[in-house]
């Protein structure tokens, strides 16, 4: 299995009231969407692994948004931020924070939602389609501009997920450094600190 990961270094703040960590599967790569995404003119789409991997940096720091009925996107209702993105197997997994103090009703509704009920949906810009005439569009290049938390049944990809994490985000400084050391020592993760405070890890199993 191949893993590609990127994360933003976030300074640790103990018991930060406005950071509620989450994790989820944003999309699957190299697989056709279950239904046509909005903007794809009725075509189902495949986001290639290479395109997803190349677009990971664009995903970091982007916001997550929500619609009141959890049925789509509202790019102006940003209730959190993505701080980490991994391509693990066929899943593009993300982690980040919700602004819990600013959006208590969002956190409350997510806490009360049934397990497996919520999913995610990406927002792309400048997506390149290999062949516009193909029945299923293959996206070979794209830029992530954000993501939405929504009901899984409203996502174009059936196999997405979203849940509030029990603990802290693993990329907060002390946690990440500890985890990094542990992972580096025990499972071969390699951390490359980049000049803009971004952490990139690569591992092949």
């Amino acid at each position: 299995m191949r893993l590609e990961a990127m994360a933003i270094t976030m300074p640790e703040v103990a018991d930060h009231p406005n950071r509620i960590p989450f994790e989820g599967v944003l999309t699957v790569v190299d697989e056709a969407s279950t239904r046509p995404p909005s903007g794809a003119r009725g075509h189902r789409v495949i986001l290639t692994r290479d395109a997803a991997r190349a677009a990971l940096p664009s995903l970091l720091g982007m916001a997550v948004d929500y619609a009141p009925k959890w049925d789509g996107h509202d790019a102006r209702a940003k209730c959190g931020i993505i701080t980490e993105a991994d391509v693990i197997g066929s899943q593009l997994r993300v982690r980040g924070y919700l602004f819990g103090r600013d959006f208590p009703e969002v956190v409350q509704q997510l806490q009360q939602s049934e397990a497996g009920n919520m999913g995610m949906s990406y927002e792309l810009a400048n997506a390149h389609v290999a062949d516009m005439r193909a029945e299923v569009w293959t996206l070979t290049q794209a830029t992530f501009t954000g993501a939405a938390i929504l009901l899984r049944e409203k996502a174009a990809y059936r196999d997405t997920s979203f849940r509030l994490s029990a603990g802290r985000c693993r990329n907060s400084n002390p946690v990440r450094e500890h985890a990094g050391a542990r992972l580096a020592a025990h499972s071969g993760w390699r951390f490359e600190k980049q000049s803009f405070g971004q952490i990139q890890r690569r591992k092949e199993v």
Binding site: S38, A40, G42, D71, G72, H73, Y122, L124, V129, A155
Partner: protein
């Protein structure tokens, strides 16, 4: 005089064939260009299912496209029938040559029957007559 007419119409036919060939070349080039330009960009996409408004908008776009395509098909059909009607005419010189060989005006003639009917004509005359009949769409295999 007749031979001059025949050569003139033969030249005309060659000119038409030449322009048809260049048109075909241009069409092939266009098709090749279209093939390479099959990829495209999408400005915005979200992986959520389309809402009712978006579905209605797409439905409207598809209806417009369908109407445009139907209109284009109707125009092409009309153009095609006009072309067929226009093609069903032969120069007077060719008609006269055919008449001299005992062939009166027909809708179409088979190539084999034409060969045997034109044995009295020179090779150049036979080529010219066949070219005119082909252009008129009246010669069948």
């Amino acid at each position: 005089m007749e031979t001059e007419n025949i050569f003139a119409s033969l030249g005309d036919s060659i000119e038409r064939l030449s322009s048809a060939a260049s048109l075909l070349e241009r069409t092939v080039a266009w098709l090749e260009q279209r093939e390479t330009a099959a990829g495209g960009a999408v400005e915005k996409m979200t992986a959520a299912v389309e809402g009712q408004n978006e579905l209605m908008e797409r439905d409207r776009e598809l209806r417009l496209k369908l109407e445009a395509a139907e209109q284009q098909i109707a125009e092409l059909r009309a153009q095609s029938s006009r072309t067929v009607a226009a093609r069903q005419t032969l120069p007077a010189s060719t008609t006269q040559l055919l008449a001299k060989q005992g062939i009166s005006m027909v809708d179409s003639i088979q190539a084999g029957a034409l060969d045997s009917a034109l044995t009295g004509l020179s090779l150049e005359q036979r080529i010219a007559v066949k070219a005119q009949l082909l252009r008129a769409g009246m010669l069948t295999q």
